[in-house]
Each structure stands twice: as structure tokens, then as C-alpha cells.
Amino acid sequence: MSRRDGGTGPSQEGCSRSALDGWEMGAFTRSAFVVKKMNNAQPNWLRVGLAFSTSAALWAFLIKQHNEDVMEYERRNKRGHKCTGCS
């Protein structure tokens, strides 16, 4: 978010700032303790790589789990048995 007042005060800036300062100076990123100027022009390649690899891992896990579920369902129901031992 581009608010600079910690979120609790009113949204007006101090009297020495114009209303355009937020747009001229760009957006900010903040945690509870530090405020840094965001630079969206240079990607953080580590985070990009982590995001894509996490997504790939999640899809692989999901597809594997789905195939295992299908095989397990077919295994349990192929004989049409009604036992409650394995279900």
C-alpha cells in the first residue's frame, strides 16, 4: 500500500507536502519497522524463481495425489466388495 502514515492517522500529508508527492515518489513497501522504496522495474529474481518453482511443485503434488486417489478408489471398488476392513 502506498500510505505513509502507519495507517492510523488521517490520510492528509504534512502541510509541506503536496498531494502529488505520493505519485511522484512512487509506491512504498513497509513492514512494521522499516519503509523501503519499491522498485518494480527490476524484478527480484529470487522471489520470481521461488514463486514459479513452488507453483510447479504444488501442481506436481496435486496431480500425483489425484492419480493416486483414482488408483486407490479403483483398487477398493474393483471387486465390488462390501467389507469395511479397508474403507
Partner: protein, 96 residues
């Protein structure tokens, strides 16, 4: 109770892209787009890694939730049919 007990695997698994996983994947993608909008970035063209990650997370969570919902519905159905089976007097078909 476990999120997905072992007997839930006796149910036919839902397709990978079911209404829960597609909808939550779309919600995840939308939240990535909203994040772009709130941070004054181009909405669709920026943060593709973020859009992909959030959509993936949504699909994943949606799939697990749909499996859990189908298990809960099947469990309730089983209990219902067991009750009907044990109380046939109450469930006679109307004659005459």
C-alpha cells in the same frame, strides 16, 4: 478428526478441475490482480509469478476442500440410509 480420513479414499475422487478448485483458483488469480492494482502496477502484465502462485494455491486449497465436502456429504448420506434401513416402519410407502 482428520481433514480427510482414510475412508474418504473409497469415494470417487472429484476431477482435478472441479467447481471448487476452479473458483478458488480464479479467486487467487483475482487477488494477485488486486494486489497489482493497489500497488499501482499494470494489472495483468506485472507479477505473473505472483498470479501463477496465487492461482495455484487457490486450485490446491479448492481441490482439498471439495474432497472434504464430498466426504462429509457421503457420510451424512450413509447415516441417513442406515437410519432408514433400521426404521422401516417409519418409512413405509403410502398404500391406497
Amino acid at each position: 478428526m482428520a481433514f480427510l480420513p482414510d475412508e474418504s479414499r473409497s469415494l470417487p475422487p472429484p476431477p482435478l478441475l472441479n467447481k471448487g478448485s476452479v473458483w478458488l483458483g480464479f479467486v487467487g488469480w483475482l487477488s494477485a490482480l488486486l494486489d497489482n492494482a493497489y500497488n499501482h502496477r499494470p494489472v495483468f502484465r506485472s507479477g505473473v509469478h505472483r498470479q501463477v502462485l496465487f492461482a495455484t494455491l487457490g486450485c490446491f486449497v479448492g481441490y482439498q476442500l471439495v474432497k472434504r465436502a464430498e466426504y462429509m456429504h457421503a457420510k451424512v448420506d450413509r447415516e441417513l440410509f442406515e437410519y432408514v434401513r433400521h426404521h422401516p416402519v417409519d418409512f413405509q410407502a403410502k398404500t391406497g
